[in-house]
């Protein structure tokens, strides 16, 4: 098995599949990171991904338009983000619990709508790989990074974009201020509520993109429980990445390569029970949470609702 793995061809396949599998983690975890930077812990990522995966798939299936599918998937995510924002920012509810509520809602709705509209598994013609000129011809690197579909590229491009926005723009400064010290930000005239709404809705949209990618970018079909717990891992990746885009990128790649390796092992028919293979990323997440995360770095106001002291 090790010999087989060390063959160049196998490694390239695994790494390329790792890059593809990193995509949903990246979308969802970058979005969640932006929300958490503003002080809101949204645990509804998994449910949001499921619902968006369904709506994007259904619209693509019915209309034949991938662009429309992406649009609806993103809007669905944005709507879920809006619900979370109303509950956790305006109503100042306990975020750990409201996120579970949002998750259950997304889980239930995706199942309900799927059974009502399609009922059985169908497929669509999803996004096709798009080779980047010149770069895709590079040995190894070309095959690993530059022969994917447009959503994969978008996910990786969003990493530096998130970094620039968070650390090099006035908006990013406001977001971080609201997440670290909302009282001070408020005093300086920053709208804590406005920033948090914005970030949670953007986070929802990116979870939506993650789900959209799963159904019309990766699998080209919709099945119940399409996320397999990916949304939960995405939340953990934010901790693992220490609330930093590059850290999130590293974590997403680590997890997705482990995942790709796991799939490769299964396809080879090597005798590891399927359930243990599925469990691997969950166990890895716990280990990562325990040993690789210093929570001293988390936004100081994370999961704390903000209430302006009445004069």
């Amino acid at each position: 098995m090790i010999n087989e793995l060390l063959k160049e061809g196998a490694l390239i396949l695994i790494l390329a599949s790792g890059v593809r599998l990193a995509t949903p983690y990246l979308f969802a975890a970058l979005g969640e990171m932006i929300g958490q930077r503003s002080g809101v812990l949204n645990l509804g990522v998994d449910g949001t991904m499921m619902l968006s995966a369904f709506t994007a798939f259904y619209v693509t299936f019915a209309s034949g338009s991938l662009a429309l599918g992406v649009l609806v998937g993103v809007l669905t995510g944005g709507l879920m983000g809006l619900i979370m924002a109303v509950v956790s920012v305006t109503m100042r509810a306990e975020q750990g619990i409201s996120g579970i509520g949002l998750h259950l809602f997304g889980l239930g709705m995706s199942n309900l709508l799927f059974r009502l509209s399609l009922g059985a598994i169908s497929t669509v013609e999803g996004f096709r790989p798009l080779s980047v000129p010149i770069l895709s011809d590079l040995p190894v690197i070309g095959a690993v990074f530059f022969r994917h579909n447009v959503l994969v590229y978008l996910a990786f491009v969003l990493v530096p974009v998130a970094w620039v926005v968070l650390f090099r723009t006035p908006l990013g400064l406001k977001i971080r201020a609201v997440g670290e010290n909302p009282q001070a930000a408020d005093t300086l005239g920053v709208s804590v509520t406005g920033i948090r709404y914005l970030c949670v809705i953007i986070g929802g949209m990116m979870s939506g993109l993650a789900g959209t990618y799963l159904s019309i970018g990766l699998n080209n079909m919709y099945v119940d429980n399409i996320t397999n717990g990916m949304g939960w891992i995405a939340v953990a990746l934010v901790y693992f990445g220490r609330w930093h885009p590059w850290g999130v990128l590293a974590g997403s790649l680590l997890f997705s390569v482990v995942n790709a390796l796991q799939i490769w092992v299964q396809v080879r028919g090597i005798a590891i029970p399927y359930e243990f293979a599925v469990m691997m990323p969950y166990v890895l997440t716990i280990v990562a949470l325990a040993f690789a995360v210093r929570r001293a770095q988390q936004p100081a106001a994370l999961s704390k609702p903000y209430e302006r002291a009445e004069a």
């Binding site: 109503m91 809602f105 359930e275 995360v293």
Partner: protein, 364 residues
């Protein structure tokens, strides 16, 4: 204790607000049903009346309320001790697994020994499953919200593996059906029915007894006092010489243990064997029941009855109008969102009271 008129009013409002929230959630559910092309009047009849229509409905409600109460009691201890235990699902599964496995080994013991032993086993199973995130939180400051969720996913996969391999009922293999379930427990290990010809089993009584015990533990013992102190303020507790890490682990252990006990009574009272999906969402709904009961063990009793009724009603509705079981989860999600949101008004009232009247804050 005598209640002043204003205290009475607050208590009544404190009960009405969450009930209003549930009503709001069900109203929002109407939208979903219309979207799904279902006549909401036809759907909500079974939902609201079904659980109480006859003895059978009430018995089903009590049966579903039993695990919810146990999980909700665990939530009381956990949240009061400052740990947010989202791991009920996995702890139920762990408890059910421990109970089934030990039960299958010790077939020859008489029921009077076997039943308490298996209940204890389930408690230990859940406690161990809860201890892992508890220790990781106390020692390494790992977020228990995330690690308990991961433990849920791991438990589900683990049992799925066991039921398709080492623990599968040999009869399933002999007949070639291969349904993923364990062998049945000996009848000595079944919890007796307390209402004849219904599914209400001894677990309901056990859960009620546990509610009283948890109340006594939290408010009448030193250890319970310390658990609450740690949840209220870690810094103050540390200053008072309380070993904060130890009490956080203890809270998680007991919280997981009660969920594990829920798994044990589900196996011993209902299924009589281990199945996939034995936790059936009780681990999540139990959290809501705990919060709805204001994290007070006695308050969780009516709360779990209410949510038991909601589950039974949603089940009946789902079958009456023929929509998928997803509707049950969607409604539960809405109820969670509405209930946690409505808490704002409850908190505002109590804040006003503290400001205005110098009355003692009831937050125990």
């Amino acid at each position: 204790m005598k209640l002043s008129p204003s205290r009475w009013r607050d208590t009544v409002v404190g009960i009405l607000i969450p009930i209003g929230a549930v009503a709001g959630a069900l109203l929002a559910g109407v939208l979903i049903l219309v979207l799904a092309g279902v006549n909401p009047v036809k759907a909500y009849g079974p939902l609201l009346i079904g659980p109480f229509a006859n003895l059978y409905g009430i018995a089903q409600t009590i049966t579903k309320a039993t695990p919810l109460l146990l999980v909700g009691l665990g939530i009381c201890i956990g949240f009061r001790g400052g740990v947010i235990n989202i791991g009920g699902e996995g702890q139920i599964v762990a408890g059910a697994l421990f109970t089934t496995w030990v039960g299958l080994q010790l077939r020859s013991l008489p029921g009077i020994v076997l039943i308490p032993l298996l209940l204890l086993t389930g408690f230990i199973g859940g406690a161990l499953w809860g201890a892992v995130p508890g220790i990781l939180k106390a020692r390494l400051n790992a977020s228990e919200i995330l690690s308990t969720i991961m433990m849920n996913l791991i438990a589900a996969q683990g049992v799925s593996f066991l039921l398709r391999g080492p623990m599968i009922d040999p009869a399933e293999i002999a007949y070639g059906t291969g349904f993923p379930q364990s062998e049945a427990l000996t009848e000595w290990a079944w919890l007796p029915r307390v209402i004849p010809r219904t599914t209400v089993h001894l677990g309901a009584i056990i859960a009620l007894v546990m509610a009283v015990l948890v109340y006594v533990f939290l408010w009448r013992t030193t250890i319970g006092y310390r658990v609450r102190a740690v949840g209220y303020s870690k810094d103050a507790s540390r200053y008072a010489g309380i070993n904060v890490a130890r009490y956080a682990v203890l809270a998680m252990l007991l919280s997981g243990g009660l969920a594990g006990l829920a798994g044990a009574v589900e196996v011993m009272g209902i299924h009589h064997r281990l199945l996939d999906g034995v936790s059936a969402g009780y681990g999540f709904t139990g959290i809501v029941a705990g919060l709805f009961g204001k994290l007070h063990p006695i308050g969780v009793i009516p709360a779990s009855f209410l949510f038991g009724a909601l589950l039974v009603g949603a089940d009946k509705m789902q079958r009456a109008v023929g929509v998928s079981p997803g509707i049950v989860y969607a409604l539960q999600g809405l109820v969670v969102l509405f209930v946690v949101s409505s808490d704002l008004w409850v908190r505002r009232r109590s804040a006003r009271r503290v400001e205005g009247g110098g009355e003692e804050l009831v937050n125990d």
